[in-house]
């Protein structure tokens, strides 16, 4: 009996080893909404049939920090899986600077970089002169507005300046609140997380502020930024055109649902919301428009650059197969599918001129310029640390717990310590 058990165990053990070695799949780590995962699963099926390479998905959460955490743990442990993964542009620099990415441009490869947004490749994907990642899709903050409600007050265009946005909001709010007490003029991302930085940059840079670096010293507490942060505070507490829980609960999805349920006039969000707003069953379908964000008087509209990039682990044991996959993902056909199926914005700029894409998604024509002029967050490997500090202080100021000057002054001092530590 004992002998039987032992020999059976050995057989199973050997079978186990053999099995793992023979058809070890390429492991791809990706997260996101169910529709996004479905898209990747379908894509992987096609890729597997075409290249005879087995791919398995490691499904990650939606939250960007949790996705990063999962990758940091595997990469720090020099794990040979995942082989290939998606990275947020906000922390791509950290991963690249840690030496965790395998370069893409070996002589074997034929990734057509010319077809991509050159400014984005330069900012995010090249590290030490080498191509380390490819943009899969790009993001930039845009303004969504309700055509029907603006027409009600006799206005036929979206606001150009923040001042106009406040004015339009107050007027529409006065009308709508009679029937809908929960109606607000403007919804945006104010919770304490990365999205708050993106929103802040759009206010600040449209006032000619932002992160001002002089070598390794950072200036944040400048009048332009103070004014921008004051405005973010005032639109909640003073003009009351944004809900009071903006700075506690509002992330992308909370904002999107608030607007989509017909409870807001304006929305700041990423382009992904368009397809969802326009889907059948959405209360705001066919009542909305999309435009660049407003700006301060004398400033210019800008969008914070977001998006996800694909790269290969330096510890991958299947680098060649992974390169095939990266090529496949950055091909014209795949990028077009990404646009048509998910309504997302491909990293390839030539897809924006595609007739079929423009027919289904006419707003793509305008988005191209948004991405060409998108404003990046600092691409320093310690950006995440800077961001945590700034998020904390911006959130305090937006909540009204401290003044904008004090918040920016403390953030500047603490970030300077961070720069000193990681320089």
């Amino acid at each position: 009996m004992h002998r039987l058990i032992i020999s059976l165990s050995i057989i199973f053990l050997l079978a186990g080893c053999g099995g793992v070695k023979e058809d070890k799949p390429l492991v791809f780590a990706v997260g996101g909404a169910p529709s996004e995962i479905n898209f990747w699963e379908a894509l992987i099926d096609e890729f597997s049939t075409e290249y005879q390479i087995d791919v398995s998905i490691v499904r990650q959460p939606t939250d960007t920090d949790q996705r990063r955490q999962g990758l940091v743990v595997s990469l720090k442990a020099r794990d040979d899986d995942p082989d290939v993964f998606l990275m947020d542009v906000a922390w791509l620099a950290q991963i690249a600077a840690s030496g965790w990415l395998a370069p893409l441009n070996t002589e074997l490869d034929s990734i057509e970089t010319e077809a991509f947004f050159e400014n984005i490749l330069d900012l995010a994907d090249r590290y030490d002169g080498q191509l380390m990642a490819m943009p899969v899709y790009v993001d930039g903050g845009v303004l969504y507005y309700r055509n029907d409600l603006l027409e009600n007050i006799g206005i036929s265009r979206p606001p150009q300046t923040w001042k106009e946005l406040i004015e339009f909001s107050l007027r529409v709010q006065a009308v709508e609140r009679e029937n809908n007490p929960d109606f607000y003029g403007f919804v945006w991302q104010g919770a304490q997380y990365e999205g708050l930085i993106c929103n802040f940059l759009e206010f600040a840079v449209s006032n000619e502020g932002g992160f001002i670096f002089e070598g390794d010293s950072l200036r944040l507490n400048i009048p332009e930024n103070v004014e921008a942060l004051q405005l973010m505070h005032d639109i909640i507490h003073e003009y009351k055109i944004s809900p009071p829980n903006t700075y506690t609960e509002f992330k992308e999805e909370e904002v999107r649902l608030f607007f989509q349920n017909g409870n807001a006039l304006f929305e700041r969000n990423w382009p992904y919301a368009w397809t969802l707003h326009q889907s059948s069953g959405s209360p705001v379908a066919d009542k909305i428009g999309i435009d660049v964000l407003p700006h301060f008087e004398g400033g210019e509209s800008i969008s914070t650059l977001g998006g996800w990039h694909i790269g290969i682990s330096a510890y991958s044991d299947m680098k060649e197969e992974a390169r095939r996959f990266v090529e496949y993902v950055s091909s014209y056909e795949t990028q077009k599918k990404l646009a048509l199926n998910l309504g997302w914005n491909p990293g390839r700029r030539d897809v924006y001129d595609d007739q079929e894409v423009l027919e289904k998604l006419p707003h793509f024509a305008d988005l191209k310029t948004v991405f060409e002029n998108a404003h990046p967050r600092p691409t320093r490997p310690y950006y995440s640390q800077m961001s945590s500090i700034l998020q904390k202080h911006l959130n305090s100021a937006v909540a009204g717990e401290v003044s904008p000057e004090n918040a920016l002054q403390s953030a500047q001092a603490e970030i300077q310590d961070i720069i000193g530590r990681y320089r």
Binding site: V72, L75, S98, Q192, Y193, P244, T248, E249, K392, E401
Partner: protein
Amino acid sequence: MNRIFSKDILRSYFFLLPFAVFIIAFILIPVVGAVINSLYKDVTFREREFLLFDNYISLFKDSGFWQSLRFSMLFILVSVPFELILGLIFALLLNQIRRFRGLIWAAVLIPWAIPSAISARTWELIYNYNYGLANYLLSGIGITGEPINWLGTNVGAFISVVIADAWKTAPFITIILLAGLQGIPENLHRQSRVDGANFLQGFQKITLPLLKPVIVVALLFRTIDALRVFDVIYVLTGGGPGGATTSLSIFGYNYYINGDFGYGSTISVVLFAVAFGLSILYVKLSRFEAGLR
């Protein structure tokens, strides 16, 4: 005689072995590893570099550290007594129950058995500004006209976290204290009643003194847990607003995920030292109590 004695000792060491291996593998090695790591600049995107105590010096100059230490201490001072009183009241009430005892005890334990992440998510919905139960109930009975932004102010977020934590952990204290109450002989109470003591006197002179060792144990567990609090806060406030509810664990965690393992370890070591100090304090306290008796 001597031989048997040493054989016995050997055998007892042998029985201790699994436990010792467990302690060494999962407690001692990680703690020593963290202490060693805390002496280095260990950032994923920089060369590893020996710093000696530089991390500790930066930590003690770091206003973020003092803010989270202050929060953690305040959290212990408010949540632990609150939970203890709540748990004690429940325990005293439950101790009176004679029928369906097992069923009711099990029901009391449910909040403690639910994973924190899930109960915190539930509390997040309760506190929600627009459609949360808390604001619905308050406006229903007409206490507040305007809904309250529970998680949006420093004080509100603090109270919300304490309530969510108390809901989950008071049952734990209840069960420990109930076990203690069961150990108090019934005839002591009967005698005191014969002597003419009322409920309060009985509680003060009999229940409380006999319950003290159990209370110290409950306090020790809860204090250490409150010091390390992570899950409830991570889900409920993420440390906000503006870092007002950043516990030491959340503070350290943020450095780890940002790739700074050296500084993250420094925070862990300090957290460990504080927890260790508190444990010794409690142990001393309970010995002192035992000595008095």
